[in-house]
Amino acid sequence: MVAVEVHNLRKDFLRRDATRTGLWRKRRRVPALEGVSFTVERGECVAILGQNGSGKSTLVRLLSTLLLNDGGTAEVFGYDVFKEPRAVQRLVNRVSVEASFFKKMSSEENLAYAARFYGMGPSETKTKIPEILGRVGFPSDRKHEGMEHLSRGMQQKVALARALLTSPVLLLLDEPTTGLDPRSKLEVQNFIREIRAAHDATILLCTHDLDEAELLSDRVGILDRGKLIALAPSDELKEMYDAETLEEAFFAATGRAFEEEDHDLERGVFA
């Protein structure tokens, strides 16, 4: 069964002409995604690799119903992302690079707020929130503490709990381990594996981390300057580009080293 089907997806943003000054600077369309097509099978984990500004976050935000497309189609379990957003929203949740919570509110209060939007009443969240916080390894004695007092790793665990609380069948992970210390990173990665095994969730993982992509995903895609230039299991990718490592494959596919910054400044804003 196809979980995600994206066909010829395009998203442009209007940008002011940086070479001109004054009040009436011209605007022009800059493509953030161009003709992106792929499918993800139910239960599959697909990683999308790309540099800053490659369009990874734009792709996640399109599938999250936070952006409207300028061309092409995207479906989640058969529902049109742009025409039937409510149906899609019930199936999807996400974890981003920034944990993003009401900082003064506790983890329990933040999770309750998120859960209400998905139709979970107090009787349900009363048992489910402690259970899910326990599963992500969050200490129960800190559940009443304001989020601002928690470490970044701890906040990211609560972000995973928030995503999982609503039982999404499609989980969008946008650099979920960026900026975490090695131990927290490992814990989050282990939990992603567990989610997949226990919940039969489909995962789209956008990441900078080549090892993470190889470790967690069934297939790896390379998104470069808004174009998906390859999508295959990591071994096939390496074979395809006659490379020893995923990093070499990335270099061969894009003509740039993975760590090298994209000098197309205009694209930086899409990250």
Partner: protein
Amino acid sequence: MSTMPGPAVMRGSLRHELIGLRGVVERNAYLIKRYAWWELAFFIWSLANSLTIVFIAKGVEATGGQINLEQAQTSLLIGAVIWSYLGIVFEILTETVAWERWEGTIEYTFMAPLARSVHLIGMGLFAVIYGVIRSALLFTVIAVMFSIHFHNADFFSALLILAIASVSFIGIGMMTAVLPLISPEKGMQLGFIAQGVLLVVSGVYYPVSVLPGWMQWISKISPATYALRGIRSAILEHASVVAVWDDIWPLLVIGVVAVPLGLWTFKAGEVYAKKHGKLKRSG
């Protein structure tokens, strides 16, 4: 259209929407609790502002003006409290976007399966509950400080008018709530401008009759005009619901128009934000 992955996740119902509405109210209550000391500070600010206004009546008398002091003080107090109430309603509704963007939660909230109308009504409902409590407290404290008595007051009529006017205030608040979505940096301030314009034409501290003709014309479409006039009649002249009907029916008409217009405006702003990539934490 393919088969649905699970019946539980696909169940859309009135119960779901009501739980979502509760979530919005609950979250605002959590924030009030967590920012309790700030709430006290803002109350003192409202109190200082309102006192400044009510002292004007004493000032007029002290400089030889012939006025009915208690009536003038009550009239100014009503103006100051309604100004404060409207400020609370607009501010909370504008925070629908502004606060979420500041905390970075906006993307999670706007990708959740809750009708935007329910989301906004939840914000409006909390604004009215919170606004009524704070305004009643403000009204009482100032009345006690100035020893104002309300022998002729019909508080039932006054509260009914406030409740009906609140529907219109929520509708207009929804229109201003969209501004931070379009302009993350200046949108919230534009909400204050809308509040100021609304009150200058509505006779907040003076009768509408003193305004120039063109302003009087605008005052006819402002719900605050009818709210202020009706509440003043109820409190100063013991006007019953029947007696203030001339102020109630325009409020009902404006409310019926303002809420759908507010929802439509917000929705249009949301579509604009989704097209231009503004529905995100950094704007």
